[in-house]
């Protein structure tokens, strides 16, 4: 059987991606592999408590490094850099690693060849074992670059584990937003579950991530969380799903016990069981 990968996304942050991913994992009737692709706010491990099995550096793109002894401070590098990442101060070129995108324009233009592209550690990735299956997760260094590359890396490792262990499904906890990490998290996935909330912001952001899924050829379906916080908002979400051809899978109320479970670093599986059944039916029918 081919392994299926489901990525949980939302556009808007804080709608409940991680709690729902963890609860789906705990209730899974299949062998699964877990993947946390929200690499700059990785929280899935808080609920799943993986037993560590390995920790590896993530190098990302090469970035510029200046040999200040040889730098003449001519400023050609500063002129050519389009990211404001290299500036001459005190007669020497200095790189702000937060902004260097690694294009190497500065190194190409330097008349004394004192700029080299060098390895830069941008984060760490981990393998672990949870009660519900193997897990791959990662942490980008705070302020780091190349989150999209790190997302691709953890997904690739999760896929290898799933294929070698014969797991039927990979559950990937995705990042918020619609830019490079979100694109990297949905591209090539078999399905995206969009977790939203019954607010105007939730609806606006759901439509943007749904548009992104369509552009990248990933089929998307919607789960509405905290539905009872606004009946009007819920109605508008269901309406937007109908208008945009998005399957509406489940409506989950705001459950205080879910918040309490998360506060105790426990998977809210008991609290969510009945609400997640339609989601499993949909995923198994894929």
């Amino acid at each position: 059987m081919k392994t299926k990968e489901v990525t949980i996304v939302s556009g808007k942050g804080g709608t409940g991606k991680t709690s729902i991913t963890a609860a789906l994992a705990a209730l899974s009737p299949l062998g699964i592999v877990l993947c946390d692709a929200d690499v700059d706010a990785p929280d899935l491990e808080i609920l799943l408590h993986p037993e560590p099995e390995g920790e590896f550096p993530f190098m990302g793109m090469l970035t510029a490094g200046v040999d200040t002894d040889r730098c003449t401070g001519c400023g050609k590098c500063e002129d050519v850099c389009r990211f404001g990442a290299i500036k001459v101060t005190g007669g020497k070129a200095r790189v702000d690693k937060n902004f260097c995108e690694g294009c190497s324009a500065c190194a190409l233009v330097c008349p004394v060849k004192c700029i080299a592209m060098e390895d830069t550690r941008q984060g760490t990735w981990f393998r672990g074992m949870t009660e519900h299956g193997p897990m791959v997760h990662a942490r980008l260094n705070p302020g780091g670059e190349n989150s999209g590359m790190l997302v691709q890396l953890v997904r690739k490792v999760a896929k290898e584990i799933a294929e070698s262990s014969g797991a039927g499904m990979i559950l990937t906890d995705g990042p918020p937003g619609i830019a490079c990490p979100a694109i990297s998290a949905i591209t090539g996935a078999d399905a995206a579950l969009i977790v939203t909330e019954p607010t105007m912001s939730g609806r606006h952001d759901m439509l943007r991530i749904a548009d992104l899924c369509r552009r990248f050829g990933t089929s998307a379906a919607v789960v509405l969380n905290k539905a009872d916080l606004s009946s009007e908002g819920s109605r508008k979400i269901e309406e937007a799903c109908r208008e945009n051809g998005l399957p509406f899978l489940a409506s989950i109320p705001f459950i205080l016990d879910v918040v309490h479970a998360v506060s105790q670093a426990r998977i809210p599986s008991k609290e969510l069981t009945t609400h997640l059944e339609p989601i499993w039916r949909y995923l198994q029918g894929m």
């Binding site: 804080g14 690499v39 700059d40 929280d43 793109m61 190497s104 918020p176 830019a179 912001s201 943007r208």
Partner: protein
């Protein structure tokens, strides 16, 4: 002598903690502020302020154009591009793709001077108005991978106004968040007292400390969890400025697109206190 305008960024690490609620509440509680929505992937501040766009300008990045008369298909540009943004299929001319960062290296290395650059829209800046309030909203086009040029262009346009302003930042702790808080005099970090909130606040505080920005913390839904945020704040030499309890009335008004300070007096008082703290942090 004119007073230097004050810039306060609202950030969080974890998404959905209430950044836009705080930003919108500051706008309706402190008169005379201007707003910037730097969460360009999912801009929501206009919804909460009821602001309508009345003007917009495109944000463009440079994009290579290959002159087929001059290109001899040597492949130098494809080898020099570090983003895999130029491809040559067999003997075809090189073609750029969405991975392009607009760095200009391809045109620098082309021996035949066959590559020029043209502007390509990646997003827009919308100028919005609500009552007397002005909002600069950055909006990334769906499908574009890089939000940074839109964040920078929106901030530059807003900073040129020279007014006191509130910046609603993107979640996370990577390059978009750094770009959004970079110009701020003070950063307000909004969190919730759960293990998720505290883990992501820790990462956000590392970034803010790295950038040497003064900060204060707002604990939202403060009664829905008991993580020790004071201890974490102390570790980074900052403090909790205000704690706001969970309120169904606030959640319901947010759902309808109304800022909490317009329905809850406690929010309004908290916003006024935050602004006073920011003024002190900036020596005003």
């Amino acid at each position: 002598m004119p007073i230097k305008p004050l810039t306060v960024a609202i950030a969080s690490g974890k998404g959905g903690t209430g950044k836009s609620c705080v930003a919108a509440s500051l706008m309706v509680s402190v008169p005379g502020l201007m707003a910037v929505d730097a969460d360009v992937e999912e801009p929501n501040l206009s919804i909460l302020l009821g602001a309508e766009p009345y003007a917009s300008s495109l944000v463009e990045t440079l994009w290579p154009v290959i002159d087929s008369d001059k290109c001899d298909r040597c492949g130098e540009c494809v080898r020099a591009c570090r983003f895999g943004a130029l491809y040559m299929f067999g003997k075809a001319f090189p073609t750029p793709n969405d991975l392009c960062h607009g760095c200009g290296v391809c045109s620098m290395v082309c021996p035949g001077d066959a590559i020029s650059e043209t502007g390509r829209p990646v997003g827009e800046i919308r100028l919005c108005r609500a009552g007397g309030m002005t909002l600069f909203e950055g909006r990334l086009n769906v499908g574009m991978p890089n939000p940074i040029p839109v964040i920078k262009a929106t901030l530059d346009a807003a900073l040129a106004e020279g007014r006191d302003m509130v910046i609603d930042c993107p979640p996370g702790t990577s390059c978009p968040m750094v770009a959004a808080v970079r110009e701020a005099d003070m950063v307000v970090l909004v969190t919730e007292p759960t293990p998720f909130g505290i883990a992501d606040l820790d990462l956000a505080l590392q970034v803010v400390t790295d950038l040497k920005k003064p900060s204060v913390i707002v604990v939202n839904r403060a009664d829905l969890g008991d993580s020790d945020i004071d201890a974490l704040a102390g570790k980074y030499g900052t403090r909790v400025e205000v704690r706001l309890p969970f309120s169904r009335a606030v959640a319901e008004s947010y759902a309808r697109g109304k800022p909490p300070a317009s329905v809850d007096y406690q929010w309004k008082e908290a916003m006024i206190a935050i602004w006073e703290t920011a003024k002190k942090a900036a020596g005003r």
